[in-house]
């Protein structure tokens, strides 16, 4: 089965295979609106969530994620399949968001607004995070609030890296999305977590 394809059994002898993202993208390049709609349905929530993580504004995230889909429609013919579709699309999306932030940096500095966020994922088996007990719930919420505030201090690239990590992208793919080396992506993640680390402990 092609990467990204999903299959299910609808009957004893019937197997339907959903077209992969890459196949749908090829159809979008041929101006297949149904393929476009299907891709949008698959990625709309992730696109919105990633955009929101970077710009931290629901309306902007909505607009920017839609802009990314429009860019996808216009550039589908340029997708050569050398990377996964998701990587290619996330790169479009992150670029749209970072371009937006660069354009509005001056206004943000004047108005004092701005902020973003990031995120991260699962911890390692060898270093599991301690489970908070009932008495620790308030402290955990307090920590989350501090981390939430601290996320605002990260660079957009760091926020994007953390968010993409939460979406399950490996570091090598995050590097592709951010158009940097894997070593640089590791640095983004390390610095982001080093900043956030200050909020979770006494170290």
């Amino acid at each position: 089965m092609a990467p990204g394809a999903r299959a299910w059994e609808g009957g004893a002898a019937r197997i339907e295979v959903e077209p992969s993202d890459e196949t749908l993208c090829a159809r979008v390049a041929e101006r297949d609106d149904r393929a476009f709609d299907l891709l949008v349905s698959r990625y709309q929530a992730r696109a919105y969530r990633i955009a929101w993580s970077i710009v931290r504004d629901a309306d902007e995230a909505r607009d920017l994620s839609q802009d990314a889909f429009l860019r996808l429609y216009e550039r589908a013919g340029r997708f050569e399949g050398r990377a996964r579709f998701s990587t290619w699309f996330y790169r479009l999306l992150v670029n749209v968001c970072l371009d937006h932030r660069r354009r509005h940096r001056w206004w943000r500095s004047v108005l004092g607004g701005g902020g973003n966020e990031p995120d991260a994922p699962p911890a390692l088996d060898q270093h599991p995070a301690s489970e908070p007990g009932p008495d620790e719930d308030a402290a955990r919420k307090q920590t989350m609030t501090r981390i939430w505030a601290e996320l605002e201090r990260l660079s957009p690239q760091q926020r994007a890296a953390v968010r993409l990590q939460l979406e399950g992208l490996p570091t090598a793919e995050i590097a592709e999305v951010l158009d940097c080396s894997e070593a640089t992506a590791r640095v983004h993640l390390h610095r982001a977590l080093a900043t956030l680390r200050k909020t979770v402990g006494t170290r």
């Binding site: 919105y48 839609q66 699962p122 088996d125 990590q165 170290r203």
Partner: protein, 160 residues
């Protein structure tokens, strides 16, 4: 001792190959500082994994809005805008009906708003006559309520 701290996150995420993973594990076992970093990073990752979701979106409206933007980009009017000729025709017809009734003078007294121009035209045609009345020379007197109140009591002017 070499502290490759940037390998800690990939290590926690289980991304490293065997050789690098073993190297990191050996280093963490011997380096208290890096072990502390790994423990804290693990806690941060767990906290972030529980971060709030962004505000909810109505995906049907989202896709409809996206479809409208796409139609605009392609030079095609959005579905609603494609009905504008029908809307324009209906609006024109309605405007025609309203104009017809508004301009139909049959059996109708002129409205108050129309009396101003009519009166001005009539008065303008009789300016010569009006100039023969001495009172016209002091029109401001007609704005004086005291003068108006005593007009009826004035004695007729005797000729000669």
């Amino acid at each position: 001792m070499r502290h490759d701290e940037t390998a800690i996150v990939p290590y926690l995420r289980g991304e490293l190959g065997d050789a690098e993973r073993r190297a990191v594990e050996a280093h963490l076992a011997a380096c208290t500082d890096c072990r502390a970093i790994a423990d804290d990073f693990s806690a941060v990752l767990a906290t972030l994994a529980a971060e709030p979701e962004p505000p909810a979106v109505h995906w049907g409206a989202y896709r409809a809005e996206l479809r409208g933007k796409l139609d605009q980009r392609r030079g095609r009017r959005p579905a609603a805008a494609r009905w504008w000729p029908v809307s324009l025709a209906l609006s024109g017809a309605l405007a025609g009906v309203l104009v017809f009734f508004a301009t139909d003078d049959t059996g109708r007294e002129p409205r108050v708003a129309e009396l101003g121009p009519i009166e001005e035209a009539m008065i303008g045609g009789r300016l010569d006559l009006l100039r023969q009345y001495p009172v016209v020379e002091r029109l401001d007197l007609l704005e004086d309520l005291e003068v108006i109140r005593h007009l009826d009591g004035l004695e007729p002017v005797k000729e000669g």
